[in-house]
Symmetry: C2
Subunit: 359 residues, 2 copies
């Protein structure tokens, strides 16, 4: 049975919200965020390895990160690294991976997971994924993982649950956009809403069917190459056709439209590490609630800061509260945590003023 189970790790993000710590040539998923010696990508791989045979793990990434993948995941077979010639969001990525896998194994089921999230209770995650595989193998279902919310988070999308299909697996009633704080509190109190973790489990054939039904504009691009998947011509076909796919998210293309969408409700520790503040919240605190990893730090009248500094640089700080201080050798960023949504604009300005030297 296990040999029909596959994993797709999506690994093409640019992580610009974590600039300058995350860089265009080494984005977030390739960084050792927690000083554990393993990058977020490697942690994602390690987590899935007990569930799926190594040779069934597929990584989809941008072509420019090929060498980083080979460096960080040396055990992955070259044929399991899918290199996108262009960034087109998750729908084309998943369509390709599903066709690729189903050409190899028409009976395949697959979990699709981001490479840059944090999951803290791996045992619970693994149990959840196994139950999920069992479910989709017996139903034509598109399953998404929903995390029981523990705070009124405004940075995540939510899933409203419907009727229970079997213990812990329910029909999805609606997907919601990121709520404002008031609404997020209502969601939290209702018990009916779960965080949308962006982790999916389904049979390859189920998602290919659903994509045909709900995003035919995308699938015309893939259907013309149906015969090439799983053959030596696959890469050439992708090289010629992938960039013309319309960019779209799998949520928008399929999940919000299909009627066979289910959510497996779970409560493992999860954080999408989408923001500096999220990283701050997840990180161990030192004196005065400063986060600085193992960096030598002397702080005076300073609290709530997050210092992301390479190497064993000494930080001495006075009178600084709730700031991000990121120092990468060639860039120093000092910015209040409350203003971090402006970092994308700053990165844009840096590009305008200095070209790509600091990106």
């Amino acid at each position: 049975m296990a040999s029909h189970r596959y994993c797709v790790i999506m690994c093409g993000g640019v992580g610009s919200r974590f600039w300058p710590y995350s860089r265009e040539n080494r984005p977030k998923q390739f960084l050792d965020f927690f000083g554990t010696g393993r990058s977020l990508l490697q942690m994602s791989y390690d987590r899935i390895l007990p569930l799926v045979p190594k040779e069934n793990i597929v990584v989809v990434t941008n072509a420019k990160y090929a060498s980083l993948i080979r460096e960080q995941l040396p055990d992955i077979d070259e044929r399991n690294i899918l290199l996108e010639p262009a960034r087109r969001n998750t729908a084309p990525c998943i369509a390709w991976a599903a066709y690729h896998i189903s050409a190899i194994d028409p009976e395949a089921s697959m979990i699709v997971t981001p490479s840059d999230h944090l999951i803290t209770s791996e045992g619970e995650f693994q149990d959840c994924v196994m139950r999920g595989f069992d479910f989709v193998e017996n139903h034509d279902a598109l399953l998404t993982l929903g995390i029981k919310p523990v705070r009124p988070e405004t940075g995540y999308g939510y899933i409203q649950i419907g009727k229970e299909e079997e213990p812990g697996i329910l029909k999805v009633k609606t997907f919601t956009e990121k709520p404002n704080l008031e609404l997020a509190k209502v969601f939290l109190d209702s018990g009916e809403f779960f965080w949308n973790a962006g982790i999916f489990i389904w049979k390859a054939s189920s998602i290919i069917d659903a994509l045909h039904r709900y995003d035919s504009d995308l699938m015309v691009h893939f259907d013309s190459g149906k015969d090439y998947f799983g053959t030596p011509q696959e890469n050439e076909f992708i090289e010629e056709n992938f960039a013309s796919c319309p960019a779209n998210s799998i949520d928008y293309a399929v999940m919000e439209k299909a009627d066979n969408v289910y959510v497996e409700c779970t409560s493992f520790g999860w954080n999408d590490l989408g923001t500096w503040s999220a990283l701050y919240d997840q990180s161990p605190k030192r004196e005065n609630d400063n986060v600085a990893g193992d960096t030598p730090l002397l702080s005076y009248e300073s609290s709530g800061n997050i210092f992301a500094v390479n190497s064993d640089k000494l930080i001495v700080v006075h009178g600084l509260h709730d700031y991000i201080v990121a120092d990468t050798g060639d860039v120093l960023l000092v910015c209040p945590k409350s203003e971090e949504q402006r970092i994308k604009q700053m990165v844009y300005d840096v590009n305008v003023s200095f070209g790509d030297k600091y990106l």
Copy 2:
């Protein structure tokens, strides 16, 4: 006439107020503070070179900075580098230099100058020094330079002027300690007070006489070696005796006590660069009154900061006002300008916590 004129550049300071930019192994005077390609010491040397023959310029410094002196002032003869085995403030430094010079040239007159101040109008400085030499060569006088104050500065000592002896040169009535702001304003308005720049001109014989009269505790240490100055035994004598001299400033030892003390009143641009704020005031401002030299900088809602960053590192800063940000590769200091008097304590704490690694 010019050949009896000497210059003593005092160059032994540690500059801990500018830590981490100024370091124990390369203090302030050895740094290219203004990105001109010349250190403060080199600027001091360049300034004096038109006034005094090169072979008459003597540098007094701590033994540990010998190689820095040779590197930065390669034209200085080895015999003109006086290496103090210990830090004993300005009185022992000046006593040694005066004995050293007077052994070579009993008719010598000399200017004594710090190596770590900024002087912006060199022509005016040079005219002033020439008038000063003329004066002390014709009087048994201890002459100090007084700068016409341009603001109620509380970081400097002041000199109150007395009777005019000749145009621009007056008897000193009193030396004052650093005043509070109220008093500094009174000083400024009165027109009777000048900044004490710590630059002195006198005959070598005059200061030796005065040191004997007013600081005999110090001079016993030097008199025992009288016969060695100007001979190959001088360094050995200093090595054995200098450290036993009591530490004392020349102001306290002589200037505040002697009755032949004169001030030459001048108004060249001068700053002792004693504080980050002083450096900030003297530095060209960029957008929003930030100081950053030529460092690439993008600032958002940030003003009045001083960034001292080595190399061509990019600084991106949001919501920071009136801070010092000093980044030296191995140390990052972030501190409000208004708290800079605490940097000495921070340096002490760094030493306690991490040893001398970051000093």
